[in-house]
C-alpha cells in the first residue's frame, strides 16, 4: 500500500544525508507498492551490492528483485529478515556508512586502476 510521506522514522533530518533521508517515505512498503522515487532506493541497493548490474531499468515499483535485495540486505546487516521496509531497515539504510560495497568481490573497482 502507499503510505503518506509524513511518516516518521527513528532518524532525524539533521543527522542524515538528504538523499537517503528521503527513503523514509518508503517505510512499510512491500512487494507490489508503487512509490514515486523508489528507483533511487534501487540505485542505493545497486550501489552497495544488492541489485545486480543487469537490473538497470530501475522503476518506482517494489518488485520481486527489490524484495530479494531487501531480504539480502537485512540478512547481511544483521536485521530481522522480513523483505519489507520496516523501521529498523529504513533506519539502517539512511544511516551514514562506508562507501565500500557490502558485496564487494574486488573492492572498489581496483581492476580499473
Amino acid at each position: 500500500r502507499i503510505v503518506p510521506e509524513s511518516v516518521t522514522v527513528i532518524t532525524t533530518t539533521e543527522t542524515h544525508n538528504a538523499t537517503w533521508h528521503d527513503f523514509s517515505k518508503f517505510l512499510y512498503a512491500e512487494q507490489g507498492s508503487h512509490v514515486s522515487g523508489m528507483s533511487q532506493l534501487k540505485k542505493y541497493f545497486h550501489r552497495f551490492g544488492y541489485l545486480s548490474e543487469t537490473t538497470s531499468n530501475f522503476t518506482d515499483t517494489f518488485d520481486k528483485q527489490l524484495e530479494t535485495a531487501v531480504k539480502l540486505y537485512q540478512k547481511r546487516l544483521g536485521l530481522h529478515v522480513t523483505g519489507k521496509l520496516d523501521s529498523d531497515t529504513i533506519s539502517t539504510i539512511v544511516a551514514p556508512r562506508c562507501g565500500v560495497s557490502d558485496n564487494s568481490p574486488h573492492g572498489l573497482h581496483v581492476t580499473r586502476h
Binding site: 540478512k75 544511516a95 562507501g99 564487494s104 572498489l108
Partner: protein
C-alpha cells in the same frame, strides 16, 4: 567477517611493516595535523596489536597506504556525497588508497564538537584500515567492520569478529591473547 574475492592481503617479508602517509594536498582544516596523526596512529595500533604487522608514517610518494580527504568526484569513480551519506572508502590490498569525505564534520572530541552531524574520525579510520588490510563488511553490528556508523557514535575497539577475520589473513601478534579481548568485550557489554 568477510573478505574481498581471492582474500587479497599484503604480502611482505617478515616482519611486515606497512608505510602510510597523508596527502599533502588533500587534508582538512577543522582538525589539526597533530590531532589527525594522533587518531590515525591510535587506529593503526589497534590493528597491529592483534596481527604481526606494524605501521610507520613515511613520505607520501613512496607510502603503501595513501590517506587523503576528498570532496565529490575525486577521480576514482566513487564520488563523495557531502555531509553524511558515505563517510569514506578504502581499496583492497595491495592498492592502499584510503579516502575520507572532506565534507564531513570530522571530530576527535564530541565534548568539543556539539554538532549533531559530527563523525568520529578514529572510528572511521579504524574501519577503513580493516579494508586496507583485506577485510570486507561484517554483519555483526558491534564489529568495527559493520558498514554503518551513526553520527556522534564512537566504535574503535576491535571485536572478536574483526580479530578472527584479520588474523586469518596475517596470523596473530605473539603478544595478543583472546582473553584480554574477551575481558574488554565483557566490560563493554556490562
Amino acid at each position: 567477517y568477510a573478505y574481498f574475492n581471492g582474500k587479497p592481503r599484503w604480502v611482505r617479508d617478515s616482519p611486515v611493516t606497512l608505510t602510510y602517509a597523508f596527502s599533502p594536498y588533500n587534508m582538512i582544516d577543522r582538525l589539526s595535523q597533530t590531532e589527525i596523526r594522533t587518531v590515525f596512529n591510535s587506529a593503526f595500533n589497534r590493528w597491529s596489536s592483534v596481527i604481526p604487522v606494524s605501521f610507520k608514517e613515511t613520505e607520501y610518494e613512496t607510502a603503501d597506504i595513501k590517506i587523503g580527504f576528498y570532496r565529490g568526484d575525486h577521480g576514482d569513480g566513487e564520488p563523495f556525497d557531502g555531509v553524511l551519506g558515505v563517510l569514506g572508502h578504502a581499496f583492497s590490498p595491495e592498492n592502499g588508497r584510503f579516502h575520507l569525505d572532506a565534507a564531513e564534520m570530522w571530530s576527535v572530541d564530541f565534548d568539543r564538537d556539539e554538532s549533531k552531524v559530527a563523525v568520529d574520525l578514529e572510528s572511521v579510520a579504524t574501519h577503513e584500515i580493516g579494508h586496507v588490510l583485506g577485510l570486507g563488511h561484517s554483519s555483526i553490528k558491534e564489529a568495527v567492520m559493520y558498514p554503518s556508523l551513526s553520527p556522534r557514535k564512537k566504535k574503535v575497539n576491535l571485536r572478536i569478529d574483526d580479530v578472527e577475520g584479520v588474523q586469518a589473513l596475517y596470523g596473530s601478534n605473539p603478544n595478543f591473547t583472546f582473553g584480554s579481548l574477551l575481558q574488554s568485550e565483557n566490560s563493554f557489554n556490562h
